[in-house]
């Protein structure tokens, strides 16, 4: 059986496997393991299996998962999240969907710090959804927001994705960072607009509060003053270079822990509970990543990415159509294995063709970023959606009803980037 055929059968089996109710991460590991063994011999597949797992669980960068989720859980169990949402409600609760908008802004800022879409969704799933629940927000809306908002940071700097893209393709990372800002902010604004429009059309999905007086608003501030100070401290610490975004997880957790202890909001029992929750979610995410790493290595040796790329590039089509096909490959590939992994796999193959077709490399990087954002939330492997489902036990169908409008926004921006490349290229053109 040819390598490509093996790959196609492997992926088909994987999809069937998903339906058996097996843990997705384990299914990916199994299919990757058996497929790799079939093509390259089982002794090497055994070695691959254990080393990929060991590698994922000793990867320093992945410490962001347990640490940021722990920070969120401590904040939640100490009642800090409740106070934040109470205060936010005083200020913008009277705007339709106001609390969901606040969540978008908060999560975008959070993603900028922690750099991981899945960690952002995980943290906010545990914190923001229960709070929006309390204020009578429909689960569709609250879970949809949380599942998609984590993706924003892919193109808002600092973004690991853009750094790696820059190194693979020899593009200036500084230019890529600048290019991502405007599309990133437009997407954030569009998300806010969608929330407003959705609640306006269907007021039942989010209870709108009475407008508070300025006196009430100001009275709510002391409650959240210290929390805001902690966030400013963390963001400031990163900006000023006191610590890396990865370390910020530990610093933020420590600060929140300190704050909660001083104010006697956190019992030891609640701390343990927070730790268990941090562990649970981090393990769940890392098992998906480990599985998709093993699967990715199997896909790599099937040569499917290379063959598909060569075929597409050779098609006698309009250059825009070829580019759209290229993006579709990223979408499908990134749906099975980790988006970043797939980008590293596919970009070297496609990038020369993209240049030959005459597209601007910086623009391509940002547009690709939007494609990857879409990939994180669409099936079959939609890590951000899984995270939300797993933490909140909200059914997938409900979450997708909530994700849909935001997904449409992402596709819309993607199209807009095609029509107006200046959206990405204008800002860097001022500096370079």
């Amino acid at each position: 059986m040819s390598e490509i055929m093996t790959g196609i059968i492997g992926l088909t089996v994987l999809l069937l496997f998903f339906a058996t109710g097996i843990e997705l991460g384990f299914a990916m590991a199994l299919v990757g393991f058996v497929g790799f063994g079939y093509l390259n011999g089982f002794p090497s597949a055994m070695s691959l299996l254990s080393r990929d797992v060991f590698e994922v669980i000793t990867n320093y960068g992945y410490t962001v998962f347990p640490l940021f989720i722990l920070m969120g859980q401590i904040g939640f169990n100490a009642g800090i999240a409740t106070r934040l949402y109470n205060a936010a409600n005083k200020f913008i609760g009277h705007i339709p969907g106001g609390l969901a908008m606040a969540t978008v802004i908060g999560a975008t800022g959070f993603k900028t710090i922690c750099g991981s879409s899945a960690a952002t969704s995980a943290t906010f799933a545990g914190v923001a959804i229960p709070e929006m629940d309390r204020y009578g927000y429909d689960k569709k809306l609250s879970s949809g927001v949380v599942a998609t908002v984590g993706t924003l940071g892919v193109i808002i700097p600092p973004s690991v994705t853009l750094i790696i893209f820059g190194i693979i393709t020899e593009q200036s990372i500084g230019q890529l960072f600048l290019a991502g800002i405007i599309p990133g902010l437009i997407i954030a604004l569009l998300f806010i607009g969608i929330i407003y429009g959705w609640v306006k059309i269907n007021p039942a999905i989010a209870r709108t509060s009475q407008k508070s007086t300025w006196k009430e608003r100001i009275r709510s501030l002391p409650e959240v003053f210290w929390v805001l100070m902690v966030f400013l401290l963390v963001i400031g610490g990163i900006m000023r270079g006191f610590f890396t975004p990865t370390e910020a997880g530990a610093v933020g957790t420590f600060a929140v822990l300190l704050l909660a202890s001083v104010k006697r909001d956190l019992t030891f029992k609640n701390y343990l509970k927070s730790v268990q929750e941090g562990l649970r979610t981090a393990i769940m995410i890392l098992m998906l990543i480990a599985g998709s790493t093993i699967l990715g290595h199997f896909i790599a040796i099937t040569n499917i990415p290379q063959q598909t790329a060569e075929w597409i590039v050779s098609l006698p089509l309009n250059r825009y159509l070829i580019l759209i096909l290229i993006f579709l490959v990223y979408e499908v590939g990134g749906s099975f294995i980790d988006d970043l992994t797939f980008m590293i796999l596919a970009t070297p193959i496609f990038f020369p063709a993209v240049l030959k077709l005459g597209f601007n490399p910086i623009w391509f990087g940002i547009t690709l970023g939007v494609v990857l954002m879409i990939g994180v939330v669409i099936p079959p492997v939609a890590i951000c959606v899984f995270v939300v489902k797993n933490i909140t036990k909200i059914p997938l169908g409900t979450i997708y009803k909530g994700v849909a409008p935001f997904l449409i926004a992402l596709v819309f921006i993607w199209g807009l980037l095609f029509l107006i490349p200046q959206m990405a290229l204008w800002l860097p053109s001022l500096f370079y």
Binding site: A19, G21, M46, S50, Y60, T63, P66, V251, L279, K389
Partner: protein, 160 residues
């Protein structure tokens, strides 16, 4: 059969407490390093200790998460099966998972042995990798027992 499973549950809990402790240590160590570095005296080993601690956090926590059904899976198709069909399907997937973790665990022992034999250590403060590899291998073994436990309770009608 209850007694061995009490022991299993106890071991999973214990391992997950070790993982939780590792997470706490990871946080304090990183914070201490950030402060010391700001003062010009960083603790150079932090990065490597934290990486190895992550293996403890994740590896040692896996069995408890499996026991709690905390991993991501899809139930939409399974829900349409009869109880008996579900039991067969779940048993089948549990068996595959036993196979998977037995392979991972067995090979991690080999990986640990090769680290031990070659003397490979972390780059800067030269911590050995092999104890962590052995530790995670042990957790894979426990994970296999969790799946066996699953199979037993599936056929006792206590699963889910």
């Amino acid at each position: 059969m209850t007694r061995p499973f009490d022991i299993l549950r106890f071991i999973c809990k214990l391992l997950s407490y070790i993982a939780g402790t590792a997470l706490t240590v990871m946080m304090f160590l990183t914070v201490a390093d950030v402060f010391l570095r700001a003062g010009g005296y960083p603790f150079v080993g932090t990065y490597e200790i934290v990486s190895l601690l992550l293996a403890v956090v994740i590896g040692f926590g896996i069995p408890q998460v499996s026991l709690d059904k905390g991993h991501v899976f899809m139930e939409f198709l399974l829900e349409r099966f009869s109880q008996r069909g579900r039991n067969i399907m779940n048993t089948f997937t549990r068996l595959l998972c036993i196979l998977l973790f037995a392979c991972i665990g067995y090979n991690l022992i080999l990986v640990g042995a090769s680290y031990q034999a070659s003397g490979e250590v972390t780059a800067t403060i030269k911590l050995p990798f092999y104890p962590v590899a052995y530790g995670v291998a042990f957790c894979c073994l426990i994970e296999c027992f969790v799946f066996i436990y699953d199979i037993v309770i599936i056929w006792r009608g206590q699963y889910e």
